[in-house]
Amino acid sequence: MASANTKIKVPETAKKGEVIEIKTSITHDMESGQRKDESGKTLARRIINKFVCKYNGAEVFRMDLQPAVAANPYIAFFMVASESGKIEMFWYDDNGETYSATSAITVA
């Protein structure tokens, strides 16, 4: 697989205290480690095993993923818009790579 493509949807502006929805997806096979190829060899597990969302450096939401999460993991969740700043997301691959995406938010 080539590099994983991340896609995030975060409001650019929000009122202070507003609960905003964040939607994310990443292209990833989520190879479960259960499937076999034509020769009967088990394909090695390779999944996104963890997702973290940070707001100005502080963790807001985290998800542990198992092979039972569908390919191209879609995750939607909420957070409170408390101050202007940076919203960062991190996806952790079984192979040690980390993918990230960042969005700026203005809170008035």
Binding site: M63, D64, P67, F78
Partner: protein, 158 residues
């Protein structure tokens, strides 16, 4: 006529087709997963115990939203909501999702903070066959809640 013969037997064409389809799906799944054991409800219970320790889980509080029938087990939309004020003193800490009929019972765990605003999350999961999906919510005060939903899976995503 063959058709009327089947009709006399009380079997119509649709039932025959459905039966054939179900057989084909079963064979395909078995072909993909030779020798892979499916988790059992007992294993799912063990996993829930290992996640929540000695805490006693009460029924309710959680809304687990899954389709009653999933045509494609490879991607089943899941939404889970727990009503909570999400304050420092009273919030949902974690929601675990467990599938009792998958090769492995664990699906995902969602960890919230008071900054989450609400405990409401969506993702898409894989289900190998028709089964119960369990949700277990651990609150900041240590109380534990659980619920389950049955999903009928037409084509397994194993």
């Amino acid at each position: 006529m063959r058709h009327s013969d089947l009709s006399k037997m009380g079997v119509n064409r649709r039932q025959v087709m459905t039966a054939m389809g179900a057989g084909a799906v079963g064979a395909a799944c078995a072909g993909l997963l030779p020798g892979v054991a499916q988790a059992t409800p007992a294993e799912a219970e063990d996993m829930i115990k290992s996640l929540i320790g000695t805490a006693k889980a009460s029924e309710g509080k959680i809304q687990l939203k899954l389709p009653q029938i999933a045509d494609n087990g490879a991607t089943v939309p899941l939404r889970v909501v727990v009503d909570s004020p999400m304050t420092e003193a009273d919030h949902v800490k974690t929601i675990h999702i467990i599938a009792e009929g998958n090769p492995l019972p664990g699906v995902a765990s969602f960890h919230f903070t008071p900054k989450s605003g609400k405990a409401d999350v969506q993702t898409r999961i894989r289900l190998g066959k028709t089964q119960n999906v369990h949700a277990v919510a651990v609150m900041s005060n240590g109380s534990v809640w659980r619920t389950k939903e049955e999903v009928k899976v037409t084509v397994g995503g194993c």
